[in-house]
Amino acid sequence: MGKFYLIVLLWLPLVVFSQDSFTISGKVVDDNRLAIPFANVVLSLDNKYAITDENGRYRMDNIKPGRYSISVSSLGFKTQKTQITITKNLTQNFILTTTVEDLDNVLVTGKTKSKLLTENVVAITSLDIQKSKDQALGVEDVLKQSTGVVVRQSGGLGSNLNINLNGLTGQAVRTYYDGMPIELYGGALQLNFIPVDALERLDIYKGIIPVNVGTDALGGGLNLVPLKIGGNILRTSYSVGSFNTHRFSLHGNYNFNENLSASISSFINYTDNDYEMRDIPNIVENLRTDGTVESITEERINATRFHDRFRSSLVEASLSIHDVPWADELQVSALFSKRDNQIQQGTFITGLAVGEAETEATVVVQKLNYKKAFFKEKLKFNYSGLYARSINTTNDSTTAFYNWRGERLVTENSRGSEIFGIPIARKGESIGTAHRITASYAISDNVQFVISEFNYGIEIDGEDPIGTRIEIDGEQIDPNTIPSKLRSNVFGTELNTTFFDKKLTAIGFYKNYDYSARSIEFIASGITEIPLRTVKSNNDGFGFGVKYQMSTEIFLRSSFERTLRLPTQNEVFGDFAAIVPNFELRPEQSNNINVGARYEKNLTNNRFISLDVSGFLRDQENLIRPVPFGPENSQFINEANVESIGIELGSRFRPFSNLSFNGSFTYQQLEIGKSNDIRSSGGSEGSSVPNIPNLFFNVTANYTLENIFRSKNNLELSWNYLFVDRFSVNEVIDLDSANPAFVVPRQHLNNANISYILPEQNLVCSLAVQNIFDQEIFDNFRIPRPGINYAFKISYSLQ
């Protein structure tokens, strides 16, 4: 707590106290008395404005006495204006009615939450998923269209996913679901199988992650914000596509009265992922006449994936109480999810396929969210709690070999596993709990102080009847049966201040990361008791940022942060197989600088243009990497340092009211610096970080044809082109002298979507065509991606 008081004292000199004046506050709701978040409330003459919070509440301070015109607007609602006279503190509520006709006007003048985040002082790209919700796309497809983001999968729907964000990848990029680390959901949720219509937004943090979202992250993260719908509404969609892919979703909300509502969110995914891969190696056995194997040879074939089925389902039900004296919102939720994946290959494509290995997960999650504002909205208190129990099974225990024709070979697989080094039939139980408490206090109209405490813990145990054993006092023990525990506490405090009539915004934050983990030391030998080992660490991070609004059209922003990423349990304790522990592993650290500028202008006749330019500079230290440990094993150590620099451009351009373009461009250089490994003489200095492209961009064109076939029915056409420059899967200094066999060639991907919207029937039909020109597209480590493929989606809502 000493640190806490110190921080408060440090911030106090920055605080600008408010002057005497009046306050106007209130709440904005819709026809169903549901709060309208992020509505614009504008006060004439005084040039003041406010945005409603998630409870629909707004507040404006320092209002001088007088008569004003106040207007409220929000996406999808009729703008409302009224006259008020300020002679004292005033409460003014608004009820907005929904509209379709007014949509365009609001689009121009209103600000969605996504747009507000994009204009934040820190570099955030917030993707408004609702604009794509009716398209037959996955969330990963939408994410690919953002600047600075590379999404790579090891196969089709449901396969392993790797996100590269501003050059950071793997564990360095954290993913959150509704502000909670997604791993707490025990595999129930993954970015690449959540339907696009199950999300409200996707926030991409490229620098500072706010204290009320982040945990440990090296310099970036994704927050998937689940869909929030109000009113009595039921939305459903179904899509069917290539490779026997079916996706169904259902989302609904029902208001019992103005204080009580219930909602449901659910989805089902199924796919065989049986797409063709071209020109891959395939092992063939040459048999003698007696059926025994004489030799094996390798051929090149076009092969159809045959063991890549993916099934997942999720249902979440919530009960919410709103606007009662003791709570602005109390939401209790329960979530159930089940998922199973067949596995088709390991990291690389080799001459053998995986024909039997699979994983399963069953997850139950209970959540509680509580929000309450005090002292006339000055103090806001949020609590989120989560309890998750998941059962995960991994089965890789066959004596069979399969080739890419799906044939079982005569030769028996003596190893007894297809992917792992040893046979595995592990069933593990994971219990995770998380609590996040956030309090924000508006010290004045210009100063807001936020404090957040996030605490989470996971306990994992299980059993594996055929896995590794350790010998304790002569007895063989399954190390999976010994619970591993991990607990982490992240304390954060943040100060937001504005100056010069809110033209200059400054933010500063401090975070403290406290971490402890306990697990069995599985390589111990000659022992007489269970060798439990505990590691602890306590580290600090900090950062600050400023934004200057030069005019209504242009702003500049810059931020600096020192962040860290804590080692994972596997990295510290090993994996009960080939990875040996390293109890001295230190967190990865990074100093990040982000700078950017944004220009946007609303032109006449609903035309629009915007341009974002940003750059980043990172100096990463103590990168955690595996290195050989003796002749057989590997160990994670703090090794290389990496220096990264990049530039990003993003643009939106609407030359006509029914035609728009979005584009994004990223160029980055990620260079390996000096190694910390005493066994290295620094021979890799200057090499590019492998398996990450330096240049990629995409452009999307959207065109709307109005009143097609029938009045008000629109046809929306969309075309997306994605370019990824060549890159090497190996560490090379110069791509021109790199081994062409391991260079992933330049890729051109073209996708199209056509949607027919029938607003009066609340119906949308979409057809998406991916990889239109049937190009060879590669993913992580040259894994081939599907050729041309189709998906048809129908969306319906009932109000």
Binding site: F348, G351, S414, P631, F697, F742
Partner: protein
């Protein structure tokens, strides 16, 4: 602007790399040196040098592979596990243009198959770890499979699957030390299986025992060079390097015998420093002329490890598993080994003066060129080869390597 850029860019070529001009692969290089380096991502950078390297050589423009670990060289061809990490083995040559060129493969089912050895132009042996009780005899010139040898009769403690660490030729026989196949576990004795290349039959087995508890490890080193002037075969085991206190040993199979001589006990690490009990191992063992050999012998225990031992009263039995692990971590990265000459008859070990200390697991393979032996030195300050002239006994730094950490240098003029 961004749209203009995209338009211009997409008008350009697709940027696919053309394959290197390989020239006439029938006119392969018959001399020269393949220098292999390791990157921080554990991938390989490989570059051919026509002449013996000198000064500082740069690997940064070398050709890259996911791995490149030669096992054998014969008739100027390199035999190794497939550098693209596909299951199996490759045969590489250097084309007349100095490019590495894969002229054939021997696929296997198991991606972990890692050892191929060549005796001469007619016989080589490899193992597919998918069939652990078998080894395969092949023709290194044509890469045709000659025969499979059922090694099922060989003694394996616990009768678990084994793999062969390497193949050591003596005449028409091949000796192969075994190791557990599935998890890499070892056995508490050092066991060799023997087969005959001509008959394609299993011949027998021989072993040296340890303490009956601790595993005995063996290393994979390039090539052969394990038979002395009298036809005695020397095979090294590494002892135990996880605190089991079993000394690594040079094992002798006398000429004319198929059995390890139980009376021949030569433990180089013990000879060099009898108090070095935690990591009493040695590596890169090669037999020279006149009863001499070379090896990298671990010689010292770092002070940080000694301090931990002293903290429990100097009694190793009092160490906790965590302390043992910590000591091993220190030892694995310590520069506590020396390049040494071994006298196989006098059982003496002599560090070679003026060659810096290295870690016993540090990278690099010894190579030979005429009367000169080249020793790799990869430590915190050096990434170089030091030469030792057997005529003049002069040691000097031969060349430094930049652009990657040392993995090995291979003289393609020499057979194994």
């Amino acid at each position: 602007m961004i749209y203009l850029f995209i338009f211009i860019h997409t008008s350009c070529d697709d940027g696919l790399n053309d394959l290197a001009d390989l020239g006439d692969v029938n006119n392969i290089k018959t001399s020269g040196f393949i220098v292999v380096g390791t990157t921080s991502s554990n991938t390989a950078r490989v570059k051919y040098f026509e002449n013996l390297p000198s000064g500082t050589i740069d690997l940064s423009d070398g050709i890259d592979f996911p791995r490149f670990f030669p096992n054998s060289i014969y008739n100027h061809a390199i035999f190794l596990a497939r550098p693209d990490e596909s299951p199996g083995y490759s045969k590489y040559v250097v084309s007349e243009n100095g490019d590495l060129f894969e002229i054939g493969t021997l696929p296997t089912l198991n991606a972990g198959s890692f050892r191929i050895d060549v005796r001469d132009a007619e016989f080589g042996v490899f193992q597919d770890r998918a069939t652990p009780d078998n080894i395969t005899i092949f023709n290194p010139t044509t890469l045709q499979i000659i025969d499979g040898v059922d090694m099922n009769e060989g003694f394996v403690p616990g009768d678990i699957d084994q793999r062969y660490q390497r193949f050591i030729f003596r005449g028409d026989d091949v000796f192969a030390p075994i190791r557990g196949n599935v998890t890499g576990e070892s056995f508490s004795s050092f066991i060799l299986h023997q087969a005959n290349l001509i008959t394609g039959q299993f011949v027998g087995d021989t072993q040296r025992n340890g303490n009956g508890v601790s595993d005995i490890i063996t290393f994979n080193n390039f090539g052969q060079r394990l038979i002395d002037d009298s036809g005695n075969l020397y095979v090294a085991d590494a002892g135990n390097y996880t605190g089991g206190q079993v000394w690594g040993r040079v094992n002798k199979i006398p000429a004319g015998s198929n059995e390890i001589d139980p009376d021949y006990v030569f433990e180089p690490a013990r000879a060099l420093n009898p108090s070095n009990v935690f990591l009493p191992t040695f590596n890169n063992f090669y037999v020279l002329n006149n009863g001499k050999a070379i090896a990298k012998v671990n010689s010292e225990t770092p002070q940080a490890a000694i301090d931990i031992i002293l903290s429990v009263g100097g009694n190793l039995a009092n160490l906790t598993p965590a302390q043992t692990q910590e000591i091993l971590s220190i030892l694995f990265s310590a520069e506590s080994a020396r390049w040494c000459f071994l006298d196989l008859n006098a059982f003496t070990v002599t560090p070679i003066a003026n060659i810096p200390a290295v870690g016993v697991f540090s990278g690099g393979q010894v190579f030979f060129d005429g009367n000169t032996i080249f020793f790799p030195v990869a430590n915190a300050t050096e990434n170089a080869y030091f030469s030792y002239n057997t005529n003049t006994e002069v040691v000097e730094k031969a060349f430094e390597i930049t652009g990657a950490d040392i993995s090995g240098v291979y003289n393609i003029a020499n057979n194994n």
